[in-house]
Symmetry: C3
Subunit: 442 residues, 3 copies
């Protein structure tokens, strides 16, 4: 494999303007489905992703012990409403699945307004938004509505129906391994357990799906493992069933909230200076775009599990606007308008650049370590077009030669020189083609 050739073709292909649109279409297709951490909504979501990439669907039985946790009962819901005394649906699951507290137990009652209000949740800050609530581990029920809806409810007798079931069944997750030249893996994990929320969960599903498509048709050094899982319980379940895989994971990314119009935000792995951490930082720094890099904290998405002390995997988390920093988070305003085709495509490109860097981040040995080799006699000295460009290329070659002692990776060289990784990588490829470098042994 020649340095710099693996994923570049894909990167160019994905420049096509339609890819963002296709990702947004997938988001739109999945939007109405009522997902949860178990059940048919999650299963249907995985089935539709599986129409695009050869996803393997796993079903883990209720009651299975997964470390300190137990796979919960399966939740399914057909319909739910609150009707007033005139039989009108004043709260209607058919209009938005956010109206039902996720994992609500079945209920069929008639209640006064006062009694009903004990089970109604609103968003304090935004009178028109419906909040998203769950109750996975406590058996209860409830409805979520906007403050304006609540305020408009008159005294009345209300018929309350939640036609749900909470029964032994399975937890579902999807997995796809794209084998590479090496058994060493890059893990991409995204959660799929939220109902009609676009940035939070659907954006990650769409980007992960199209990343898998892009990588599937190309040779690559690393093997790529994609996980489409319910948050927390899903990564815990996967880890408990795949401890033998864990040592092969060399880098990993959790994708979440990657479709909004904000700049990228990267949260480092627990290790803090893993190759994935340095790779993402390098690319964001040289991107010239607003971004932020945060230290690891044990609060967030599934990186909490991958970075637990018993695993301590080099897995970071890529977001655009980070959760907790956009007010639409976990509300009905995280809708189809909140995510854009351009943002989804930008995330896809960014991920491909990250993987491209990791694929090409090799260590080389300068075959003429004593003094510089004579670049001129090989046509490598000012052979290129413009002067400024030529000087930059020479400088990149001199850096690669000077630091290629078998210890420094190309990313080490990029960091120390202050040059972009792709310039360093091109220089290394050119020097290798001219017999001046060889790949270092591991």
């Amino acid at each position: 494999m020649t340095a710099g050739t693996t994923i570049t073709a894909v990167r160019i292909a994905s420049d096509s303007p339609e890819i963002g649109q296709r990702m947004h279409s997938l988001v739109s297709e999945l939007y109405p489905i009522c997902r949860s951490i178990t059940g048919n909504g999650l299963r249907e979501t995985l089935r539709r992703v599986g129409q695009r990439i050869p996803l393997q669907i796993h079903e883990v039985a209720t009651g299975t012990l997964v470390y300190d946790w137990t796979v919960p009962r399966e939740w399914n819901i057909q319909d739910a409403w609150v009707k007033n005394s005139r039989g009108e649906r004043v709260i209607d699951f058919q209009k938005s699945n956010l109206h039902v507290v996720n994992y609500s137990v079945p209920v069929r009652k008639t209640l006064s307004l006062r009694e009903l209000k004990q089970h109604l949740y609103t968003h304090s800050g935004q009178p028109d938004w419906t909040p998203y609530r769950t109750s996975y581990y406590r058996e209860t029920w409830g409805f979520c509505i906007s403050q304006r809806q609540l305020d408009a409810l008159p005294e009345d007798e209300y018929e309350v129906v939640i036609d749900s079931s909470l029964e032994d069944g399975h937890l579902s997750y999807g997995e796809l391994l794209l084998p590479g030249e090496s058994p060493e893996e890059i893990l991409i994990s995204t959660h799929c357990c939220h109902p009609s929320l676009c940035n939070d969960n659907l954006s990650g599903i769409a980007v992960a799906c199209f990343l898998a498509q892009a990588l599937a048709s190309k040779p690559h050094r690393y093997s790529y493992r994609f996980l489409f899982i319910p948050g927390t319980i899903g990564s815990i379940t996967w880890l408990s069933r795949n401890e033998h895989v864990v040592p092969r994971i060399k880098h990993g990314l959790v994708l979440a909230c990657v479709g909004d119009r904000g700049g990228f935000s990267y949260k480092k792995s627990r290790r803090g200076n893993a190759e994935i951490d340095r790779a993402v930082q390098h690319l964001l720094m040289h991107s010239g775009e607003t971004h932020s890099v945060r230290d690891f904290s044990p609060y967030g998405f599934d990186e909490r599990q991958y970075c637990s002390p018993g695993f301590n995997l080099p897995v970071g988390c890529l977001n655009r606007t980070s959760h907790g920093e956009f007010s639409e988070y976990h509300t009905s305003a995280d809708d189809l308008d909140f995510v854009s085709a351009e943002a989804l495509e930008g995330t896809l490109q960014n991920c491909l650049e990250i993987f491209d860097l990791l694929e090409n981040n090799r260590r080389y040995c300068n075959l003429n370590p004593k003094c510089e080799p004579q670049l001129g006699k090989r046509g490598l000295y000012r052979e290129f077009g413009g002067q400024v460009d030529a000087q930059a290329r020479e400088l990149a070659m001199l850096w690669v030669l000077n630091l290629s002692d078998g210890q420094n990776s190309l990313l080490d060289i990029a960091e120390r020189s202050g040059l972009r990784f792709d310039a360093i990588q091109k220089a290394a490829a050119s020097l290798k083609d001219h017999g001046l470098l060889r790949l270092a042994e591991n």
Copy 2:
């Protein structure tokens, strides 16, 4: 021992407003005594401290070799004066012991003003202040007066008497060991060799005395060793007689100038990143009060000896306004008004918090290192009152779980998380109570 319970009770007790007053009373009681590096003034000071805590008084004979030094002759003084030709005491030791150069040899002479002036010392900057001078290792004599006193002295014949003695005797120091669960020790050292100076020496004596009282009645993990010693020669003497103790000293504090109204100033040990250094910095940083932290330098108090290269003990020095930064230093203005009950009490509290941190700074092992344990089923998830408070407690628990791999101490976790040590400590205690943590082996 449960984390977090050892010294907390003491800390609450010492919140009583009178403790500062009681320390100030001890300062007042000791103020008139004419201390020096040897002699009855020092001995009497130790005796009075010994009325409050079970101090062991050591007497080391003149001429004893202590490393490169020799225990000096014992200095005692009954009276001293300069009388004018009318028999009036124009300089009078009875009014202030600062008027005699400490360690002055006996003298009984009649001198002209010109001759007398060879032996008079004033303070250049402050015309009303009497400076404090010593001459331990050169046999001479002298008087210290204010510039205004000096200017007012007329031509006359002056009778000069210093009724002192410099004879073989002993160097005295006080020592108290409060045994803890472990033979590992925390050293608290304070100098007691200055005459009527309050911030410089009496404040340290008072705080050390009341610290010993507070710790004596409580269980503690560490053993605590208190030294009340003459500066320099005292710590050298102690070290030379206690080399077998030195390996047990895990942390240490020199207390000096801790009674003035300034913010805290901490000087790090020679090691620069010892646990005591990090503990004090953590507490000062989170105190929200003005403070300063300085790197070690070999100029200061007895930490010079403890941090000499042959020992290199983790001993820092706690001051309020550091010496050399308050103009009252080594003058008559370092008097009873210069130190306050509130400042003394604040220092006591700060020391107790430092020791509390050290006592509780353990390393733990997360007993569920693979993925997070399920906090909810143990009532640890949002079980607490207010949301914000609950979230902060959860975050502290997640940090403790994530970093408790047996390597990180609670202080490490506090530093990395940016949370306060006490929040981390409480989280660890709660997790340990729920069987989720165990103390790490050493």
Copy 3:
């Protein structure tokens, strides 16, 4: 050898105002000679330097393989001109050797203005300056003139003559080893391959020559090796013939562009924190003068070869205004006025201080490591004149005693204390004289 005495005498001697003038005279003497990377101009330059210091001249035959390079043919030139149809020399090598592209092959032709212009080079920015151009590794010819000269050339038939030769011969370089007490070496390397350019090459030659003179007559711990070499090919040739010497090189400086009136600029070795790097930084920082310190990059002078990964020698590069930052670089404006006697002398002094620091940068063992020794009984405590001065000296002694555990060098102590190296060195000398320190074993 007593610390601090080795080069001090030289330093004082070189304070004489004439040394700068004598260096400038050497620059003037060498200025007219047409040097190149081989040939009689280089040889004559080495001969004249050899009149001042006992330089050994090496001749390496054309065709000799030196790593990836081959010693080129020898270039010599007698005369060159462009005459117009009236027989007037409109471009004349006799007026300035910069007019001929260095390493031009022989030519004897008659050309039209259009044809001639294919071989004329000017300086884009400065209409009155002649640029300096070379063509070492491509057989061609050309003339360099000012833009104003070019613009004034009328249509005409021009006789073009370059009376040069490019034939098998030798590459010359000069070498001088001043043996010291130790076989460990300090390398001083300067390039001598540029024709009439003063700051770029002649300033380095002059400073290196006078440094060798200054060091020759004095005892020193290190051996000093001076190299006067053509750039790039010279250092490559020397390294390829002296691999057995390389392990002895403990420190090194490339001298280049050290005669202009700008402040010092130091480029660190590839190691980045070598003793030479720290020494130069320490002195520049305490000099109180404007200066800059740059990280290593593989672009510059012969440090590129010394710092190639197969050698990785601790060799930095000392400049005044760095190349590329003065517009006179590689033009006729880098002339005798551009360099000053004062600047040359300042560089000489700076180099002597650097070597003085390296010579005296020893590690000592405190012979009383447990507690401080009693300075007073040895007359080391406030024995000196002024108070402030005495306090500074005491502080330096205390630092040396505290950190002299056999691990810290005097430069380590200077860096940690913030004191000047010479103050630390004097303190160490005084303590050693009083039997309180001994030199550490290696």
